[in-house]
């Protein structure tokens, strides 16, 4: 029988400790709390290494321990789950974003259409930059068969592409590449996770058809 007069009920499994958190769990929970705070404040994707630097103020925290925390948080903030945020692995790191399911509520209060759809011309240009970067304006125009300055301008404006350097040699054409914002907007952990370009290759059948229509001699088998 528990004597109700013997003081506050201690729910801790360890009768020796009056702390709410057992000491062996303390560190992990502290790191999880700190990681969560840093990610909330960040507004940009943070790599595991960077997070480890942030939480290593008392004693060194290994990347492995940070990953463990991220996985625990990810379970808590499951993508498409019940929470308003989800923890996503994009752009070479981790960040919080709103749960897509909450869009209805968000769009009643905020002008979420502020970020309008990219035009087909802009998407084509973006695809060229994403796969061929670093790439110059003339190279983009060459592939699309039309001047793409206006599409490129839109993409620069929307922070999907940025100048990344200049071509060596005469003219020193400005070269463009994609941004972190692009990876975030397209839910990509990194450029190496773009859908393989080969998957968009014109099929052999269609190519033959083109060849026939264009009157190109078919190479002998």
């Amino acid at each position: 029988m528990v004597d109700p007069t013997s003081g506050p009920i201690d729910t801790s499994p360890d009768p020796q400790s009056h702390s709410a958190v057992p000491p062996h769990l303390g560190d992990r929970l502290r790191v999880r709390r700190d990681v969560e705070a840093v990610l909330f404040a960040s507004g940009r994707s943070l790599s595991v290494e960077r997070l480890a630097v942030a939480v290593s103020y008392a004693e060194p925290v290994s990347a492995g321990a940070v990953v463990e925390c991220l996985e625990a948080l990810q379970k808590e903030y499951a993508v498409g789950g019940l929470r308003g945020f989800e923890l996503a692995c994009v752009a070479g790191g981790w960040l919080f974003r709103t749960n897509a399911v909450a869009e209805a509520a968000l769009s009643r209060l905020f002008d979420v259409s502020e970020d309008p759809r990219l035009s087909p011309a802009a998407l084509e240009t973006l695809a060229i930059v994403a796969y061929l970067q670093p790439v110059s304006r003339p190279e983009i125009a060459e592939i699309r068969g039309v001047n793409s300055d206006s599409a490129l301008h839109t993409l620069l404006d929307r922070e999907m592409v940025q100048e990344v350097g200049r071509r060596d040699g005469p003219g020193a054409a400005v070269l463009y590449g994609t941004t972190e914002r692009f990876l975030i907007a397209f839910d990509l952990p990194g450029l190496d996770r773009l859908p393989p370009l080969a998957q968009f290759e014109v099929g052999e059948e269609q190519r033959e058809e083109l060849r026939r229509r264009l009157g190109v001699a078919v190479a002998p088998e």
């Binding site: 404040a41 960040s42 269609q206 058809e209």
Partner: protein, 244 residues
Amino acid sequence: MRLLDLDLEVYQGPFDLLFTLILREEVDIFEVPIVEVILAYVEGLAEEEPADWEGLTEFLVLISSLLELKSRVLLPEERAGEEDQDLEMSREMLLARLVAYRRFKMAAAAFAQIREAQRGRIVRRPCRESRRVLATPADIAGSQQPRALTIALERLVEVRRPPDTSHVAALRVGLNRQIAAIRRMLRSRGTFSFEEEFGADDPMVQAVSLLALLGLMARGDVRVVQRDHFGDITVAAARARRIA
């Protein structure tokens, strides 16, 4: 006979249009009826009210690039001699370009789908307090990225408060003022050393004084002697006319 029924606005460029024309219409590329395309468009245009200028401009760009492309493909045919080979080459080249273009067109469609799935997800941007990420020692040490070093240096030299300028007095100097000053000196002393009079002044005052001196020289009011380059200048009133 109406050969084409194309909604031209959906095409993103000449390759896009050509690709469709070649595969959908039963025509050889060398007989792509550009006139039909134009007629179809102009007919559509007549129905439109009011005129869609932007659409019209886009169409002009599209159709002129198509014309250029077609004429480029057609031209080698007129050359005598190796025409067959040339034609073959340009057809091969056009095929290669169409195929290359098509990949990105398909990729763009995939991008549109991904983006659509991401709609409604909001990612906050860094707020003022978290905009600047501190470079870690590991970022800078042995870094091959000059950008990391730049950010670290920027932070080092960053001025947090606007600098105190209370001790800076407004500099008052003007050409007429310096001309008057030189004239006064010449009246009282007849000659003076530029270095002695203006050497201690602000560089801007020195520069304007020199301009004043040049002005007086041009009028023949003063004589100057400078023995060495960048050496001192001795200024004297011109003998012919006394300074009034």
